[in-house]
Symmetry: C2
Subunit: 433 residues, 2 copies
């Protein structure tokens, strides 16, 4: 699709920018993928500049969805309200076995369309058919860390094939799309990869200088399995193997002790909180407030759309805060600004890419959220309005690396109707005939 104006510079006028102490109305200039100017006074406009009227809109660094499986939007609603084991064994795994590369491509685009429309600019993905995932990310002009999810008990023929796929994903895609795509190494979990597989994966991550992205302490069963089979908890087992010598993105961290939190904090591990998925699958609620207090970098993720069933980071922030307040019976738990930091800054830190804040020199990954609707007025505190009242559909504009992906709620890089057509003819069934 035509993106001629993308090389020109963009000026966002009169947007609201908020830091820990105050909110102010500013003007931003975006050039060469970066924020080049931020000023409370009007900026000079040159011919060819794209000027956006930002009155009433909050400008944020784009949301970072730090744990997802993009193609799983194909299974959104396939099998809800059933036990976890049945869900996996009888529905999700058989459906995944049948997926083609083309399916994965269209499913990834569907998720990316949903994400961009609700303000996400960067994701950490783990799946297979990674060429299809990467191609979708590249075409959508999104920022992503992609990885091939390794599942192998031993370093036998199958295990070696899995590692080869992971290596190929890194070699083919790390640094692609003008650096917007990066790669990670993903042993799926402690219970789905044997010790030798983990060791080989860690070596490969060292060799390629990429982070690990794995599932950690998601279910009580996982912890019980680890204690029975390895004689220690998943965190201690992975630490002993040397996994945490590499920056690690650890999804879930629901069932972790205080001792394990201290280890996660000492090593460079980011815990990715996925509150909706954990609740919906009946896995419980992660001790987010304790993780933050222990000094762990906590980011936010939706997990795949099969277990969420959405990928809206505003709703995920709200859910994170409300679930913590409810579980701890403490209305001061996980305040708006802290959860907004998790959804933006902490995710970008974990992935080592994208905007961490709105300031000059940062990557221009910027989202505008209209806070002037009947769901959000009156105006008291912008982050409170964002986290507790706003909706994904209040996002009006999304910029990644200085390019519009969404403008006035219209997608720029994805043909939404084509994506829905391709998904609908492959998956689901008509609700009624």
């Amino acid at each position: 699709m035509g993106n001629k104006e993308q090389s020109m510079s963009i000026v966002l006028e009169n947007v609201i920018v908020s830091d820990a102490n105050s909110a102010k109305k500013v003007n931003l200039r975006i050039e060469n993928g970066l924020i080049s100017a931020l000023d409370e006074n009007p900026l000079p406009i040159s011919p060819g500049d794209t000027v956006v009227a930002g009155e009433g809109k909050l400008a944020l660094p784009g949301f970072v969805n730090a744990h997802t499986h993009l193609p799983m939007s194909l299974f959104r609603g396939l099998a809800d309200d059933i036990p976890l084991d049945t869900w996996l064994r009888e529905h999700i795994w058989p459906a995944e076995k049948r997926l083609t590369a083309a399916d994965v491509y269209w499913g990834s685009l569907l998720s990316l369309a949903e994400m961009i429309k609700s303000g996400t600019t960067q994701v950490a993905d783990m799946y297979f058919h990674t060429d299809s995932v990467a191609r979708a990310v590249s075409e959508a002009h999104m920022r992503a860390t992609i990885s091939y999810g390794i599942v192998a008990n031993k370093l036998d023929k199958h295990g070696k094939d899995e590692l080869a796929m992971a290596r190929e994903t890194i070699e083919r895609w790390h640094g692609a799309a003008n650096g917007r795509i990066r790669a990670a190494l993903s042993p799926h979990a402690i219970y789905t990869c044997g010790r030798d597989v983990w060791a080989a994966a860690i070596d490969l991550a060292h060799e390629k200088n990429v982070p690990l992205h794995t599932h950690l302490c998601e279910t009580r069963d996982e912890v019980a399995w680890s204690l029975t089979n390895l004689g220690q908890t998943p965190v201690l087992a992975l630490d002993e193997i040397g996994a945490f010598s590499i920056p690690t993105i650890a999804a879930h961290c629901v069932h972790v002790s205080e001792e394990e939190m201290a280890i996660l904090a000492q090593r460079s591990v980011t815990a990715v909180h996925c509150p909706k998925s954990n609740a919906k699958l009946g896995n419980g609620h992660a001790p987010v407030v304790s993780l933050l207090r222990a000094g762990v970098n906590v980011a936010l993720g939706t997990d795949g759309a099969a277990s969420n069933n959405g990928q809206d980071m505003i709703e995920e922030m709200r859910m994170a805060s409300l679930l913590s307040k409810g579980a701890l019976e403490d209305p001061t738990a996980l305040p708006a600004r802290e959860v907004a930091m998790m959804a933006t800054h902490n995710g970008a830190e974990a992935l080592g890419a994208g905007a961490r804040r709105i300031s000059t020199g940062e990557d221009a990954d910027i989202v505008l959220v209209d806070l002037s609707g009947v769901d959000t007025v009156p105006a008291y505190e912008p982050f409170s309005t964002l986290v507790y009242a706003a909706h994904g559909c209040d996002v009006t504009d999304v910029i990644v690396a200085g390019e519009f992906l969404l403008r006035d709620r219209k997608l720029f890089t994805i043909d939404e109707e084509q994506v829905k057509y391709e998904v609908n003819r492959r998956f689901g069934k008509a609700f009624a005939n």
Copy 2:
């Protein structure tokens, strides 16, 4: 605003309607405020009929928000993330003292605009300046049960004044607006109204043949207060006074024992589950699954927008289901269809008005939800898509008593820009200057 076509009949073509066993595509005719025909075959169209193309849209009985305080949208975001006692004493109560009748009118319209846009057709409200609330409801063409919230320790001068206000609200508004407005009697709670006040309120409810609407077992402090001061729990105390001899709408029911659930089930008490408000204020999570199992009619409510901070029933359904699944660590808890019944049928049953289901002869309170967006496809099971994936902004059309309140996402009875203007000039502060 002009509603000339409202007296004509409406035909909804090819909408999806789903019951416990199946989903089908049907055509609906709406005349004289009722559903007059439902057919899988095309209905004859007469000149002057308003025809709506419903392809891809789920037709539901409108959502019933069974516990709210409409004017409190004025305080949305006023004071989040702080302890409950400070929130009430230092922020909400002082702000409420300053409210004028005009403030309450505009705040009510703001909430009604938000609610209609997200599919709500009926509310149970409790507040003061009830003339303003009722005027807003009447102008919005909404269906509502309104009540004056009585707060009085004794039946002294103040207590009698409070009861007089409650009586006046009933006499002035019960049955108004072609029966769309009904009234209830609202002693605020066990700890804010003395025994004599409760007794007088119960007498008045009997005299006027209106239901009670109160707060019940919302906080641990309320239960502790009741045990200390009355020697029994709030449910037992109210049952002894005879409150439950009248149909009662009991908001919250967070801290209730199995014994108390049995009492609520035996009497005609509806428990209104308010999951987001209970979580956000740190009051915990109501035992919804146990309440339903005990046979209690459980409806759904948002509570006021000061403690939610939204009034979107789709999000409230999702939160109800996910919070129960997470708290019980059971992915089968509160399945989609059951929570959708709570949000529609059970609320209408409790209020004795409005549509309970989509069938001929029912009130034409109908909502269309577009399930064909990038947030909702592909199609597997309509209620699963509605509860776990759809958003308030996917609601396209809202009909109450046979009249459009929303059509193609545009409000018909409320001037949204005027409401925002009036609210913004009275409340909040600009986020930034």
